[in-house]
Amino acid sequence: MKALVTVHYKQGILDPQGKAVQNALKSLGITGVSEARVGRHIVLQFPESKKSEAEEQTKNACEKILANPVIEDYEYELVENDQ
């Protein structure tokens, strides 16, 4: 079992890195993109855990350290390792 965690700035917070990426895309001719936002992707491995345990620990990790609730939102997905 592994958790795929994504952390990104809350909507409304200017993401200058995303802005720079969007400008780069534009200069590459990829012009259909209205906004690019850059976040973090974190993979947590749970070799022994049941899904419910892994989920509880993932949520705890997100709230305690992986995301800062003042500025960031998070989402996660639990998948089997062979997926």
Partner: protein, 232 residues
């Protein structure tokens, strides 16, 4: 007055702070290693600038879980004086000892230059030797110094006069051009509700000696030395 400078792995302004306390102020000072649990009965804790834990995850995010932070947290909540400079400010927000967060500069660049700050409030243990509206020159050196908080928190900070330093131009006006990182309300430094914890992005410890070209930070440390020590 006994000062303690916390040393995190990756701190790089710890010696600057130590130097100012010991050689410029001639006060007593010790280093506090991040793995220790003993604050050695210091009266002031300084969380110095640098890149604690390589700024991994978010600046300050890992340092806040250092063993010594357990003690710093308790010390601060009991009214002890805690000064966070640059990375130290980031650690204080991550540790919930100050509201808000510091996020990447709007320029996306590391900003390293001398800026002008306006003193907003002198009713703190850190600023009583300044006058309101004094304009100070201090260096900044950070990539993640954009102060952010939600509107309700910002309103509360302003209402309680917890904004202590603001980025301004040479005329003392908090303009967009004078704001080096995109901080909301041009905020450069804030204190907590009880006024014993101060966080600021500029470096007062690098502005304490005329030989360095800047000495406007000295009054901050002198204000601290002037405090009646309350043992916590």
């Amino acid at each position: 007055m006994k000062f303690g400078v916390v040393v995190f792995p990756g701190a790089n302004c710890d010696h600057d702070a130590y130097h100012v306390v010991k050689h410029v102020l001639s006060e007593s000072v010790v280093y506090l290693w991040h793995k220790e649990h003993d604050l050695q009965e210091v009266d002031v804790v300084i969380l110095p600038g640098g890149f604690s834990y390589g700024d991994y995850l978010r600046s300050g995010a890992i340092a806040r879980f250092s063993p010594i932070m357990h003690e710093v947290n308790k010390f601060a909540k009991d009214g002890g004086l805690v000064l966070g400079i640059c990375n130290g400010f980031q650690v204080l927000t991550e540790a919930d000892l100050l509201p808000g967060a510091l996020i990447p500069n709007t320029s996306t660049r590391f900003e390293c230059k001398t800026v002008a700050l306006r003193v907003e409030n002198t009713d703190t243990p850190y600023t009583e030797k300044y006058a309101v509206n004094d304009i100070l020159r201090m260096p900044i050196a950070h990539g993640e110094g954009r102060y952010h908080a939600d509107q309700a928190t910002l309103d509360l900070l302003e209402e309680n006069e917890q904004v202590i330093f603001r980025y301004v131009n040479t005329k003392g006006e908090p303009t967009t051009e004078a704001n080096p990182n995109g901080s909301l309300n041009n905020i450069a430094g804030i204190c907590n509700d009880q006024r014993n914890v101060l966080g600021m992005m500029p470096h007062p410890e690098r502005a304490c000696e005329p030989v360095l070209g800047l000495s406007d930070g000295l009054s901050l440390f002198q204000s601290l030395v002037n405090q009646q020590v309350v043992k916590v």
